[in-house]
């Protein structure tokens, strides 16, 4: 029996070495969610500490480890892998392919990410503790003199491994779209979500090498007496390399989820997505622009040409506005169903806006001179990443969980989850704008009572408790839905794209047959009698 005809294996062995893109995607999503709970605990510890002035819960040193590892876990081990996992699972299904391209490369990437995660978290077990120079690890703070100890090195190795893993997943997804689209599935008939994945993986391929280079050079500086990042010039080079990755990555962890929101909005408005061609163009423009804005993180250094980066950053409002036009345009004239998925999608539209608008505010250097490195920025990016991307992620989960598992999630619990998250996100993150504007820097373990910041910090910390509750509701929902299943069938939502044509869950080869593909909503066309 040749290797190529090994039978499908269930159980643990099958899960470790399976080349099935659906299993790879599910596995990445599962361990990423586990890392999310870890990063979330770090956040709860920080918010508990900041609830009142004075150090009650942790020392300064531990606090510095907490915010470093919270950010690192969330970027390297949660949001980036989740974004790619969604694509890994869905892209072959949406384009009518039997498999992902280069599945072994994807499998390698799949195992590199938790290897990196485990490595960086091992820092907590070392003498000097985990890395504590921020998830950004700026030189010279991260050099061997100021950050001695293995924690920083384990962080560097872990971050590199996780980034290489993400790169592998991204390459595999891109080659799949280039080569394995079903007949009739032209580029301008790709579903909205698949398009969002295409531009996402383009950004990964273009920008992630900069981080690997930066961290490799940092490692060399730490261990080989070189002075690559020494002095102001060297420190600036580090920041250019880091942020060349560090800005696109926040769009990598955004676009798949706005794509999910697009699919959910179309399906639960019971009409085709509005403004498809405008959306495709805006995705290409938005992501290209996002590659050009990185030094807006460096406005306060006085060492870059602020005006260029301010212009490109402000122009981001244009494609973003076009996407909003298309999302809301899909709802207007539709027949809206308020499922849990749709609630999270609407929540995304309302709350990401706050993140986006505050982003345009910080794109102005004079204003940024005040709010850079303060809780204003922390509020801004938590609105985009939590109230934006993560809401979009849950919209996608409530939508696609039945396809992946064959079971529906409970709608009642889903709505409770949404309500807790919607309230919790605003209560946690809105006060941060006030705290930052009033003078609270970020990455501080404490603040003095004279700083007039006690009330906003207390409110913010209460909000974080609400978010924790909402997360537990979701975990409970998954548990209950798997233990006492309600079967979903092929197409519980009257979906529009090809993944709803096949069984839930799909067979190993994805499709037994395919309907004709004449647009970006083939099942919708069929239902309307147009094919």
């Amino acid at each position: 029996m040749s290797v190529a005809t090994l039978p499908r294996t269930a159980g643990l062995v099958g899960w470790i070495a399976s080349t099935d893109h659906k299993r790879i995607g599910a596995r990445v999503a599962t361990y990423s969610f586990g890392f999310f709970l870890v990063g979330g605990v770090f956040a709860l510890l920080m918010r508990t500490e900041l609830a009142r002035p004075g150090l009650q819960v942790v020392s300064r040193d531990t606090y510095n480890e907490l915010f470093t590892m919270h950010g690192s876990v969330m970027f390297f081990l949660v949001m980036t892998p989740l974004a790619l996992a969604l694509g890994m699972y869905l892209v072959p299904l949406q384009i009518g392919a039997v498999d992902i391209a280069w599945p072994r490369l994807a499998l390698v990437g799949d195992w590199l990410i938790p290897s990196g995660g485990f490595t960086m978290l091992m820092g907590f077990a070392t003498n000097h503790g985990a890395a504590k120079s921020g998830w950004t690890a700026f030189a010279p703070l991260s050099d061997i003199t100021r950050s001695p100890g293995y924690g920083q090195d384990l962080w560097i190795v872990g971050a590199v491994l996780a980034t290489l893993g993400a790169y592998a997943l991204a390459v595999s997804i891109l080659v799949t779209v280039i080569r394995f689209r079903a007949p009739g599935m032209t580029m301008l008939r790709l579903p909205v979500f698949t398009w969002s994945m295409v531009v996402t993986v383009l950004m990964v391929i273009a920008s992630f090498p900069a981080l690997v280079i930066a961290l490799a050079l940092l490692f060399v500086d730490r261990h080989f007496d070189s002075e690559i990042f020494a002095g102001a010039g060297g420190a600036t080079v580090y920041q250019h390399l880091f942020w060349f990755y560090g800005h696109p990555v926040v769009y990598v962890i955004f676009f798949p989820f706005v794509g999910a929101v697009g699919e959910v909005v179309a399906t639960f408005s019971r009409r085709r997505f509005f403004g498809y061609h405008a959306l495709v163009l805006s995705l290409l423009v938005f992501t290209a622009l996002s590659m050009s804005v990185w030094a807006h993180h460096m406005f306060a250094t006085g060492r870059v040409t602020n005006q260029y980066f301010s212009l490109t950053s402000t122009l981001l409002a244009v494609p973003a506005g076009v996407e909003y036009f298309d999302l809301i345009g899909t709802m207007i004239g539709g027949a809206i169903v308020f499922s849990s998925a749709m609630l999270f999608a609407i929540g995304f539209i309302l709350l990401f806006l706050i993140g986006g608008l505050t982003g345009i505010i910080v794109a102005s250097p004079p204003i940024d001179y005040h709010v850079h490195d303060t809780f204003f920025v922390v509020g801004h990016f938590h609105y985009t990443i939590f109230a934006g991307s993560l809401f979009g992620f849950f919209a996608g989960v409530y939508y696609w969980f039945p396809k992946a598992t064959g079971r529906l999630l409970r709608e009642g619990l889903g709505k409770l989850h949404f309500a807790l998250y919607f309230v919790g996100a605003n209560v946690t993150f809105f006060p941060m704008f006030i705290a930052g504007w009033e003078g609270m820097p970020r990455r501080v373990a404490d603040y003095k009572p004279i700083h007039d910041l006690s009330l906003v910090n207390l409110i913010s910390s209460i909000g974080s408790g609400v978010l924790a509750l909402g997360t537990l509701v979701f975990v409970w929902n998954v548990w209950v839905s798997m233990r006492r299943p309600v079967l979903a069938g092929n197409d519980p939502w009257e979906g529009q794209t090809l993944e709803w044509w096949t069984t839930s869950p799909p067979p190993r080869h994805n499709f037994d047959s395919l309907p004709p593909v004449k647009s970006y909503a083939p099942l919708y066309d069929r239902r309307m009698g147009e094919t």
């Binding site: 809301i328 027949a335 608008l357």
Partner: protein
């Protein structure tokens, strides 16, 4: 502790610019939220219907994109002009202050007068400056990157090791204001506060000679 009061030149420029942004953002938010609430109330599902509406409105959307571009360019132009009035440094005049940031306090020097103020963990440095006078700062770090931030002036600038950075500020209101380090710099980053004490010129002249 004065908070949110106009203490200086830069504060006014930033506040004026921020008010424009604030209003634009509020209007945008009201329009978007209005559109969403309209959609949600008017277009809920009532039967088993599907919609066959138009899937695109190219002209409307193109005009909309052009309007957005115009708004973005306008905001950028206002930003560009404001930055053009904040960033430049004067060649001479006023009072020179040298800032040396280190882990984890500040040293302020007055090279024209030969006076130095050195902060300590339990006694943060106080930067004394005369009101209504151009202060020409020259900042550097002794170790890692720090950032000199005076919230009441709405301004911060990073201090790098080795290379100096120059910026000018004017403080127009007498009082004592808090200063913070705003670039994470290690264990005691939290504790790197300093104070800015703005005094009358005569009092400054007296103090700087001591």
């Amino acid at each position: 502790m004065a908070r949110g009061l106009a203490i200086g030149d830069t504060y006014s420029k930033v506040s004026d610019l921020f008010s424009v942004y604030e209003w634009v953002m509020i209007v945008v938010a009201v329009l978007v939220y209005g559109a969403v609430f309209y959609a949600v109330l008017r277009y809920r599902r009532r039967g088993d219907e599907y919609r066959r509406g138009t899937d695109k409105r190219t002209i409307t959307e193109s005009i909309y994109a052009l309007v957005l571009t115009a708004i973005a360019i306008t905001l950028f132009t206002l930003t560009y002009r404001t930055e053009g009035r904040i960033d430049p440094v004067a060649a001479k005049g006023g009072v020179r202050v040298d800032i040396v940031a280190f882990q984890w306090q500040w040293q302020f020097g007055y090279p024209d007068f030969g006076k130095t103020v050195l902060g300590k963990q339990d006694q943060p440095a106080t930067l004394v400056v005369p009101v209504g006078t151009l202060i020409r700062f020259d900042g550097v770090s002794r170790d890692v990157i720090h950032s000199f931030w005076v919230p009441a002036e709405r301004f911060k600038r990073d201090e790098f090791p080795g290379t100096h950075t120059k910026f000018d500020l004017t403080f127009d209101r007498v009082g004592t204001y808090i200063g913070r380090c705003a670039e994470f710099c290690g264990l005691h980053h939290t504790d790197m506060d300093f104070f800015v004490k703005v005094v009358q010129r005569t009092e400054f002249d007296r103090w700087v000679k001591t």
